[in-house]
């Protein structure tokens, strides 16, 4: 009897959370699907009509879509590559015996806690400004011409800022994983005369495979919908050069007020994210059993 009571109580306690998340997941998504089948523009109220898949055809064949899909993939891919290629050696370095390690850790992790609008504006103005930015001055010291970052390499500039924000995340997770690596295993390898490089390749790297996968999946989910950094630095431009899918949908919805097309775009973003989410959920699920 007691267990039945407990179970009833357990279910009652769980219900509010499940119900809320269920509504949160189903209602907006159902509305997005519904709007995606309508011709619906907020500037032209009362003209709503069912158009079937017309919005999808419009959104997917819009040259802006291909450009923004490409930008999204380049952005996600580059930030992943940069944060992992720099994150692995950085995590290895912080795993060494370092005097004042806790302070170094604080400095390395700090960018992750800076709100996106602040990091984007500080980089854009104080560092990357073509005349008065610090980078321009450093280039000048070496006798090089200053780079007009946001005009000459707009997408790369955005990538640079976002990589700075996410490098701490990758480093911290890889460092956590390194610290759980069995010291004795490394010692044994060293005693057997393994060089530092082969210890890294045969022991450390395989151990990092899983955390690297997790970093890739989680970063991808967040990076697919990068918004604030683009919103405050380039506004998607020049042209479409820094418009990613999230920004394209935003501009169709809240600048052009084209609800139908923006909804169709939203669904494309959901599908993209779900492909990644599928793999992440599987990895987490496997870990839950262990």
């Amino acid at each position: 009897m007691a267990t039945q009571q407990t179970q009833l109580l357990a279910r009652t306690l769980l219900t509010p959370a499940v119900a809320l998340l269920f509504i949160w997941m189903v209602v907006p998504l159902a509305l997005t699907i519904y709007f995606a089948t309508l011709h619906y523009n907020l500037l032209d109220p009362g003209s709503e009509s069912f158009v079937g898949l017309e919005n999808f055809r419009y959104f997917l064949t819009d040259p802006a879509f291909l450009a923004s899909l490409q930008n999204t993939l380049v952005l996600v891919g580059s930030v992943l590559a940069i944060t992992i290629i720099l994150g692995v050696p950085l995590a290895l370095l912080l795993d060494q015996q370092v005097v004042g390690l806790s302070i170094v850790r604080l400095m390395v992790i700090a960018p992750f806690f800076v709100m996106p609008t602040v990091s984007a504006l500080v980089w854009k103005n104080l560092l990357m400004h073509p005349v008065s930015g610090l980078f321009a001055w450093i280039a000048h010291l070496f006798g090089l011409p200053a780079i007009d970052w946001f005009n000459e390499a707009p997408l790369f500039s955005v990538i640079l800022i976002i990589s700075w924000q996410w490098l701490p995340f990758a480093t911290l997770i890889l460092l956590t994983a390194l610290q759980s690596l069995d010291e004795e295993q490394k010692e044994a390898a060293e005693m057997d005369g393994a060089s530092a490089i082969s210890t890294f390749i045969y022991i450390t790297l395989p151990h990092l495979a899983r955390p690297i996968t997790v970093v890739i999946l989680i970063e991808t989910i967040f990076l697919l919908t990068v918004f604030a950094e683009i919103f405050v630095t380039t506004g998607g431009g020049p042209g479409l050069q820094t418009t990613n899918i999230a920004f394209l949908i935003y501009s169709q919805a809240l600048i052009q007020y084209d609800v139908g097309s923006a909804s169709a775009g939203g669904l494309v973003a959901v599908v993209l994210a779900n492909i990644v989410a599928f793999f992440l959920v599987r990895i987490v699920g496997r870990n839950l059993e262990a």
Binding site: L9, A10, L13, P16, V18, L20, L21, W24, P28, L29, L31, T32, F35, L90, L93, Q96, Q97, V98, G100, L101, R105, M107, V108, I109, A110, F113, M115, P116, T117, L121, V122, V131, S132, W164, P168, F169, T176, S180, K186, E187, R210, L224, F227, A228, V232, T233, A246, A253, V259, S263, G266, A269, A273, A277, L280, V281, I283, V284, G285, E289
Partner: protein, 276 residues
């Protein structure tokens, strides 16, 4: 036994680590320095690193001109409110799944996780229209509600992993001694759960404070938190670098301090226990 590390090697790793740490931290440091310069000095070439005329006038101007504290208060209310409500909903749910798991618990947890994977931009249109129709645009209530829902899966997951670590034997012992569920909750469970609750609270405060998709899209002035306030400095007119830096420094300082306390929980909270 720890491996022997030569002094030489330790010196090299120390120098390298400090150099890299300094480079990564530098943009923040540079911003803090700029916030104490005059607008002219902040813009000057060659830049001065320490030997400039230190002034705090930017901090005063930021408040006078743009009512900084109004936005800071919004940030506190929105981040704090959404976190507290999420905790109130999540604690019973996580408690129930950790201590009375059923066959479906794992599926429920993974399903909750998958709701977090939904890109916000996928539901921007309906949320915007619903908010417009119900008068929730640019209100703190609206933002508290949406940030609470957005972070709920993370809160539940973190609490679940913490509760899971509380040994069940202790609960059984308490039950044997005739403790009711209420007493069990207050006297046995709560003290053991406090560290987990605190770190969950902290991480979600940070996430809500820095959230910059919904806040930028759903608020403009009245309810605008600091993320939106800072974004208003993105217009290219005028030389406002020192003021931008002062406003930014104020906006990130409290969260940087909290963040430094919660580095370890960050890994747990953001990887859903997939990395230990």
């Amino acid at each position: 036994m720890a491996r022997m590390v030569t002094t030489r090697r330790k010196a090299i790793s120390t120098a390298a680590a400090w150099l890299v740490g300094f480079l990564i931290f530098f943009p923040i440091l540079w911003m803090v320095l700029a916030s104490f310069k005059t607008e002219l000095e902040a813009f000057a070439i060659p830049p001065s690193f320490l030997f400039f005329h230190w002034t705090t006038e930017n901090y005063v101007t930021v408040q006078e001109r743009s009512d900084y504290f109004h936005h800071a208060l919004n940030s506190i209310i929105i981040a704090g409110g959404s976190t507290l409500i999420a905790m109130l909903i999540a604690i019973p749910a996580a408690w129930s799944m950790a201590f009375s798991p059923t066959k479906r618990t794992k599926d429920i947890l993974l399903w909750m996780l998958s709701t977090k994977m939904m890109p916000p931009v996928g539901v921007l249109v309906p949320i915007y229209l619903i908010y417009r129709n119900f008068g929730l645009l640019d209100t703190r209530t609206g933002l508290i509600f949406i940030l609470c829902l957005g972070n709920l899966p993370i809160v539940i997951w973190m609490l679940f992993t913490y509760f899971k670590e509380i040994p069940k034997d202790i609960l059984e012992a308490a039950r044997m001694d005739g403790a009711t569920i209420g007493r069990e909750l207050i006297y046995v469970l709560t003290p053991m759960a406090v560290p987990g609750l605190a770190s969950t609270l902290l991480l979600n405060l940070i996430l809500a404070w820095n959230e910059a998709f919904w806040t930028l899209n759903l608020s403009t002035l009245e309810a605008a938190p600091l993320t939106v306030f800072i974004a208003s400095y993105s217009s290219p007119e005028g030389l406002f670098w020192a003021k931008l830096s002062a406003a930014s420094t104020l906006a990130i300082a409290p969260i940087l301090v909290l963040g430094w306390f919660s580095q370890r929980q960050l890994v747990r909270g953001l990887t859903f226990g997939a990395v230990k």
